[in-house]
Amino acid sequence: MSYKLQFAELLPYWNVLLYGLVFTIVLTIVSTVVGIAVGTAGAAARTFGPGWLGRIVAVYVELIRNTPFIVQLFFIFFGLPALGLKLSETTAAFLAMVINLGAYSTEIIRAGIEAVPKGHIEAGLSLAMSKWEVLRHIVLNQAFRKIYPALSSQIIIVMLGSAVVSQISAEDLTYAANYIASRNFRNFEVYLLVALAYLLLAMLTRSLLRALGRVIFKAR
């Protein structure tokens, strides 16, 4: 119990850590934006689209929600080359994240869409709006308002879960930690620092999302 903390030994690696931090942030932002777009399309297909499309989406959602993220990631990075689809670590990481968040957000957004009173949809249709116009102008806004907190939590979960991409050598924050620890063996310091970084990142994301929500849904 007389371990002496030596944070100074991490200093020479500040650029590695910074690169990893930026990678994790960009990975989270891109997969959030694209993943929610995928989720919105998926939820729309399941609720407003033709039955066959809804069933395809349902299979996608169940496949992703019932398998570990790391297996999905390995399948994309190590498995797909067998079919001739060779992706870089970075591309594979982004793709896996989008596919994963896309599935979860499909379910979350679908719940929001289904919570919109049927009468609002009928009112829109009675005003000669098409199904898609009703979805866009009447349903989605209300749906997102309802599920925004759930979606925010999912974004944080995905951000923290992104640490897994270090396993295919995508150069995120966790990868940086592994890299540094394997060189100076300051495991305690480096993982403590990185844990703190994730903690701060998560708290910051949460407050940012909350502020963003207040701006987007200021009405009412």
Partner: protein, 242 residues
């Protein structure tokens, strides 16, 4: 020629036949009050007219468009057939004016400015000029229902379907909505109302339709029908509600 022509319409929900061959003709300027017990098929009939419900046989032609035709453009039909609901169904994320402006801008591709002018006009008509920028949650039930009426009017419908539009209101708010409907009737709007307001049906209606067990059981001029119901079912119904 009638504006809405309903011929022998039959409609079932599973094994339960709700409309058992309904025929009805509605001319331009008619104010039709449909009365009857709950479950008699009144609302279902109304919802068939603008295609919110499908029916299994018979035909409904509204403003020259066959509602259940194979190639029917329901959108085109609904531009001319407006509907107001029991539960108002205002869009909660939009202000009163935005609720009214939505369909004209989205469906008719009218400019925002023009739509806002129309919104101002129809909201004034329902007595809510000062509430243009209020959200539905800031309005009373009666005010919300009047915005819903204005929202339909903004599309300049030829027929307005009103599905028990005062049934969800507190008693003291019913009259402000009925006054608006009466005003529309006086201006010549064709109205088809499912209603429990017997006095309104008698005083404002030009035609009364009593539905019973999925059929038009009795119809005629409201004052005459109310004064001397021919069938025992209507006599009993009028006795209970009047």
């Amino acid at each position: 020629m009638s504006l809405v022509s309903i011929r022998d319409v039959r409609k079932s929900f599973g094994p339960n036949e709700v409309l058992k061959g309904v025929s009805l003709d509605i001319a331009k300027g008619d104010v039709v009050a449909i009365i009857g017990r709950s479950g008699s098929g009144k609302s279902t009939l109304l919802r068939c007219i603008n295609g919110l419900e499908t029916y299994q046989s018979g035909s409904i032609v509204a403003d020259g468009i066959e509602v259940a035709g194979a190639n029917t453009n329901l959108r085109e039909l609904r531009r001319h057939v407006g509907m107001v609901f029991q539960q108002f169904n205002l869009f909660p994320h939009l202000t009163a004016a935005e609720n009214v402006m939505l369909a004209p801008t989205v469906v008719n591709k009218v400019s925002k400015a023009e739509a806002r002018a129309t919104a101002a006009e129809v909201l004034a008509k329902v007595g809510l000029s000062e509430k243009m920028d209020a959200y539905p949650s800031e309005l009373s039930g009666g005010q919300q229902q009047r915005v819903a009426i204005a929202r339909s009017l903004a599309m300049r419908p030829k027929v307005l379907l009103c599905d028990e539009i005062t049934s969800a209101l507190d008693p003291e708010l019913v009259n402000e909505v009925l006054r608006v409907v009466e005003q529309l009737a006086r201006e010549g709007m064709t109205l088809i109302l499912v209603t429990h307001e017997m006095r309104f049906a008698r005083d404002v209606g030009t035609k009364l339709v009593f539905m019973h067990h999925g059929k038009v059981h009795e119809e005629g001029v409201p004052k005459e029908v109310f004064a001397a119901p021919r069938t025992p079912e209507l006599q009993q119904f009028v006795g209970q509600v009047g």
